[in-house]
Symmetry: C2
Subunit: 198 residues, 2 copies
């Protein structure tokens, strides 16, 4: 018994495909792919939001007062930088999560498309550099404080600083991934005149 | 006396421009613009090389030995990071200066064009993040050392660290500019299938 030859066109049996149907098919695939892409961006942005918010909260709540001495996060430049940078990134990510949800639900961007793709990409880049700079400075300070030995009595302060800095690094990582994807959207926009990548 | 109307076509008087001449004209303009663009990249890369090399040299030479105490750059994590990151960026920038000179003089890239544009952009991005992280950590450490007061006897050490970190920031800035331009070249390559931007 001869088995039928595999049909590579996915069920389309007409030898000359009709252009209207094909273009409709393509546009449906494009909308679906764009939706998946937006959901991926949404996940990264939400992760960046969670980590940077957690980092900011851990740093803002980082004060330990005992009878011998009191240490607070705002006594140190680098920790102030970490707290403020993480808070800014958290706010920005929250806004971007909202914009992503809006785009997925309504199929249109919040700002005009040209403004939106460039806004996303430029802010991702700038805030990623800012957050990396902050957490690097925070790491250096945390290490120095630990070596200094004056804070062995305040080990909790050191540990909490380390946690905040580590969460900030995770936030930076997810912001970096978002930045890659929004850079890809800019390229798509320049290529096709639309954020759709097909 | 009537003055002739201004000719906006730059001297081309034929009403129907011949495509061959126009395409030759365009390709000449394209080559010239590409040359100017490459010279701009070369300038940024050379500046990045100079600043990062100076930063690395200042940090490697940063030791002060007196009869009371001796401080050396490699006693501190963050300063080690600055020295090594600046040295890596200096080496990379030197290679890229060579590649730019090669491209300007011979009109062809060192690697195949596809590899070259992606190599440049990805390395610019990664090394820019690395250098920024290093100099941020270095800044935090330098500030802490200054506040600590143990190094008032070794003021020269502090000053030299500050200079090295500041030079590193300048190197990062020029590497960032190069990264923008090489990102533009990647977009051009995706758009036109060539690094030429017209």
């Amino acid at each position: 018994m001869r088995s039928p030859e595999p049909n590579l066109n996915g069920g389309l049996r007409t030898p000359s495909p009709r252009p209207r149907i094909q273009s409709q098919f393509h546009s449906t695939v494009s909308v679906q792919k764009n939706r998946q892409f937006n959901i991926l961006i949404l996940i990264f942005r939400f992760a960046a939001f969670c980590f940077s918010l957690a980092s900011a909260i851990f740093m803002f709540a980082n004060f330990h007062v005992s009878e011998s001495d009191s240490v607070r996060w705002y006594h140190f430049d680098a920790f102030r930088f970490v707290a403020i940078a993480a808070a800014i990134v958290a706010l920005y990510s929250l806004f971007e999560v909202g914009a992503s949800v809006w785009e997925i639900s309504r199929g249109a961007t919040v700002f005009p498309e040209l403004v939106q793709v460039w806004f996303d990409f430029s802010h991702d880049q700038v805030f990623a550099y800012m957050l990396l700079s902050a957490v690097s400075a925070g790491t250096a300070l945390a290490r120095t404080l630990r070596e200094r030995g004056t804070y062995t009595v305040n080990n909790a302060f050191c540990v909490q600083s380390d946690i905040s800095v580590a969460l900030g690094f995770a936030g930076f990582m997810f912001l970096g991934f978002s930045s890659l994807l929004s850079g890809f959207r800019v390229v798509c926009f320049i290529l096709n005149g639309s954020r759709f990548h097909m």
